[in-house]
Every structure is written in structure tokens, then in C-alpha cells.
């Protein structure tokens, strides 16, 4: 890291890493402090209370989600880095590509739906309270209760780490993936309960989940940083480009 970033041979990895850290910071600040959708609103609110909830957080909801609408695409950088990490492992590319697709799809339940639903609710405060409640439910349930992409995604990453012989990630992080996957299992009852530990704001379906996800995200960002630090591209020439590599297929691995 003694080189200035623009001359660093690892610069594309660093750009992605800094963008990923920026995205997760922005995401936390907006969801917790600006829009106040974390911790989530109460699932047992009556339609009138929901209307008040929208009115109370009016500006925060609109401005916060507008920023996510503008910058949410940066979420792709952490996905790309993790996909790259799996490509460095001694496992089939199928793991890397599965992870890439699963997490690309996860942007829809991960932020797009809640942004759309909450913006629509805040946009017309005088809408029929029953409809406001539907938008409120749509926002929180699509966010908390969409589990499959994260469940399967984490299991794919876990399996790749546990099979890997190149030690790209420590084995214990493989098991931390399992913890993250299990949180996706225990949120399922949020589709059924209005109150208690399993409701979308409950001890299990929210507090434990967010605690595990927070640790998981912090840890994987640090481990990705370590992975980039360990990479040694030297300062030598770039790997062969594919046109040449077609004549000598053995060099293709590095470039692709």
C-alpha cells in the first residue's frame, strides 16, 4: 500500500472494497438513522397508527430511500469481491457464479421493494389508512421475510470455503456463514406472527438476526481486505489478454 492508489496493481480490488464499505455504511445510516425502518415499526399497528407512522418519519423516509435509489447499485461491489474470492478457491466456478446471481437478485428484496413501498406510502399521506397499512406490510415483510436468496447464497459461500484448499478464507468463517444462513430460517415466522419474538420486530426475527448480520458483514469486509492485502500481483506486466491466451490456453486462468 505504499504506492499511490492509482498506481497500485491491486487498485481495482481496492476500489471495489472501498465502495463496498461505503455502501454498507450508507445502508446502515439510512436504515437506522434517516428512515428509521430499523428497528422496524410495530407489526400490530392499526391502519390509523400506520398513517401516523408515515407522517412522523415523512422526510427521513423520502430522502433516505431516494439516496438508496440513487446509490444502491454500489451493492454490486461486495458481491463482485466475494465472487472473486470464490474464484480464488479450489472449487468449481459454479459456486462463484451461483453466488453472483443469487446476490444480484437479492437487491430486489434487500432494498428495492422496501424503498418503493415506503416511498409510495409517504408520497400520499391522505391515502386510505387500510391501503397505507398494506404498503407498510409490503415494505417490512418483503425486507425481513425474503429469505431464500440469502439462505442459499450463504450456504454456497460456506460450502466453497469449507471445500477450499487454498485457504482464501479461514474455516471458522465458513461456519459463521452457517449462522447467517440460520437467521434466514428463523425469520420465516414473521409472515405469521404479529407479536412476540417471532414477529418482524421480535427478539429472534429481528434483534438476533440484525446482531448476527452486523457481525457477519463486518467480519467479511475485514476478511476481504486481508485477502486483497495478501494478493501478490507484483508490479509486473498485466496477465495475457484473452486473444493471445486463445493460442496458449494455459495462461487463460489468470485473465478470466
Amino acid at each position: 500500500m505504499s504506492l499511490p492508489l492509482r498506481d497500485d496493481p491491486k487498485r481495482e480490488l481496492w476500489y471495489a472494497w472501498y465502495a463496498a464499505v461505503f455502501f454498507y455504511t450508507l445502508y446502515s445510516v439510512i436504515f437506522f438513522l434517516v428512515t428509521h425502518v430499523q428497528p422496524p415499526g410495530q407489526p400490530w399497528y392499526t391502519p390509523t397508527q400506520v398513517t401516523h407512522w408515515f407522517a412522523h418519519y415523512h422526510n427521513g423516509l423520502l430522502i433516505g430511500f431516494a439516496l438508496i435509489f440513487a446509490l444502491g447499485g454500489l451493492s454490486a461491489t461486495s458481491i463482485a469481491l466475494i465472487t472473486y474470492s470464490i474464484r480464488r478457491m479450489s472449487v468449481s466456478r459454479a459456486f462463484a457464479y451461483s453466488y453472483l446471481i443469487l446476490y444480484a437478485v437479492s437487491a430486489v428484496p434487500g432494498f428495492l421493494f422496501i424503498c418503493v413501498a415506503m416511498t409510495a406510502g409517504t408520497f400520499r399521506p391522505d391515502r386510505d389508512p387500510q391501503l397505507q397499512q398494506w404498503l407498510y406490510d409490503f415494505g417490512f415483510l418483503s425486507f425481513s421475510g425474503t429469505m431464500g436468496v440469502f439462505l442459499i447464497g450463504s450456504l454456497i459461500w460456506m460450502t466453497a470455503i469449507l471445500l477450499d484448499k487454498n485457504r482464501v478464507f479461514p474455516k471458522w468463517f465458513g461456519y459463521l456463514n452457517l449462522c447467517n444462513a440460520l437467521t434466514e430460517v428463523v425469520v420465516a415466522p414473521s409472515w405469521i406472527f404479529y407479536r412476540g419474538v417471532f414477529a418482524w420486530n421480535g427478539l429472534i426475527a429481528w434483534w438476533i438476526d440484525v446482531f448476527v448480520f452486523g457481525i457477519y458483514t463486518g467480519v467479511f469486509l475485514m476478511l476481504l481486505r486481508n485477502m486483497i492485502l495478501r494478493e501478490d500481483f507484483g508490479s509486473g506486466p498485466l496477465p495475457e489478454l484473452p486473444l493471445l491466451a486463445r493460442q496458449a490456453p494455459a495462461t487463460l486462468e489468470l485473465a478470466s
Partner: protein, 235 residues
């Protein structure tokens, strides 16, 4: 040569897709001029009752073809293999957003079709679907912005005597990203330039998308031609 002719087939789907998009855009009665966010629930309901067929047909077409640009985006991703990068990381970023962007259009078309499915529904419900459609369509730019930014950085990093795409394409993509961003804030206004029917959120955003498709298809065509020439020389 097999791969290159396959890429040509994909490339030449673009004019057809463009024509279909323009026709669907003109067929939808709510785009020219764009519907106003200040319309009452009654007015919105009346709009869907009067224009049921055109809303349905235009949105069925858009639902089919909103994803049709993905193969073209993959041609760009394939060109990125030739860039002077050390890792595939920028390509992964592009693939990540290329899948998510059309889902935004797909979702908005579903909301529009829902609104038109039972035009005699309670006006408040029709208005809610209409709001969801317009907010999704207008504010849903994050993946397009990401696409432009990733492409700009990729081109910036492609430091070789003959880069895959000319340097100015990087600046062009930054300009397009900046033109798309105001639309993300359409939820904040019912009238004016930021409103979903306003100058920035509707006209600038949609013209920027059209311009991006035109410019990128021209530079993509040149990059494809060069690949054919290089492959021909190597053979």
C-alpha cells in the same frame, strides 16, 4: 468464427428491440405526456377505464422486452475481458447490476398491468397501483447508475495503447449517471422538475437512457469489428 457470428446475431437484435421499446413507449397512453402525480384517485381510475386496452397491450410488450437488453449488456461484458485489468472484478460488478436493472422495469410493468386488470376497482386501489408503478419506474435507477459508474471505471483502468472503448466513453458514462440520479428523488415532489412527470425525473432520465443505448451500441459495434479484424489476422 462461431463465437463472433453469434455475437453479431445478438448485436443485431438491438434495432428490433429499440423499435419495439419506442412503439411500446408511444402506445402507453400515460407517457406522452406523462401522467401527473397530482391527479385525484378519481381521475386516475378514469384514465385506466378509458385507456384499458392501450395500457394492457403496451405493458405486455414492455414486460416481454424489458429484459431484451441483457444479451447486449453481456456483449459489453465480453468486450471487458480484453481490457487491461488484472482481475474480473469489474465484469462481476457489471453482471451483478445487469440482471437487477430490468427487474425494476418488469416490476413497474406488473403494477401498471394490475391497475388495468380491473379498471372498475375502487379508485383508491387503482391510484395505489399507479403510484407503485410510477415510483418503481422513475426512482428505480440504482442499477443503471451503477452500470454507468462501473463501466466508466473499467474504461478508466483500461490503460493500453488501443483501449477497448475510447476514453471519452468513460466521461460519457459519468454524465449519464449524473443525469439519472435526480429521478431517484422523484418521491420528494408532486410538481416541478423532480416530480415523476417533471423535466429531470422523466425527460432527462429517459432521454439519458436512450442516448446511452445509442452511443454504447455505436462504440460496441466498433469494438466488435476490431475483434473480427484481429481474429481474422490471427487466423
Amino acid at each position: 468464427m462461431g463465437r463472433i457470428s453469434g455475437e453479431r446475431i445478438i448485436f443485431w437484435t438491438l434495432p428490433a428491440v429499440a423499435i419495439i421499446w419506442i412503439l411500446a413507449f408511444c402506445l402507453f397512453p400515460g407517457f406522452l405526456p406523462p401522467m401527473s402525480p397530482t391527479s385525484s384517485a378519481g381521475d386516475v381510475a378514469r384514465f385506466y377505464q378509458e385507456h384499458t386496452a392501450r395500457v394492457r397491450y403496451s405493458m405486455i410488450v414492455l414486460n416481454w422486452f424489458c429484459v431484451a437488453l441483457i444479451p447486449i449488456l453481456m456483449l459489453i461484458v465480453e468486450r471487458m475481458r480484453r481490457m487491461a485489468h488484472r482481475t474480473p472484478i469489474m465484469r462481476y460488478c457489471m453482471i451483478g447490476v445487469a440482471g437487477a436493472a430490468p427487474i425494476v422495469f418488469l416490476t413497474s410493468s406488473v403494477f401498471w398491468l394490475l391497475a388495468a386488470f380491473r379498471p372498475d376497482r375502487a379508485p383508491d386501489l387503482t391510484q395505489m397501483y399507479n403510484d407503485l408503478a410510477w415510483i418503481t419506474f422513475t426512482c428505480g435507477v440504482p442499477f443503471l447508475v451503477g452500470q454507468c459508474v462501473f463501466l466508466a471505471i473499467s474504461i478508466g483502468l483500461d490503460e493500453q495503447p488501443q483501449p477497448v472503448f475510447p476514453r471519452w466513453v468513460a466521461s460519457f458514462n459519468i454524465v449519464i449517471a449524473l443525469a439519472l440520479i435526480p429521478a431517484a428523488f422523484a418521491g420528494l415532489a408532486h410538481t416541478g422538475a423532480l416530480a415523476w412527470n417533471g423535466f429531470l425525473s422523466f425527460w432527462v432520465k429517459n432521454v439519458a437512457i436512450a442516448l446511452w443505448i445509442i452511443v454504447m451500441s455505436v462504440v460496441l459495434a466498433k469494438a466488435l469489428q476490431r475483434d473480427v479484424a484481429v481474429a481474422g489476422a490471427a487466423a
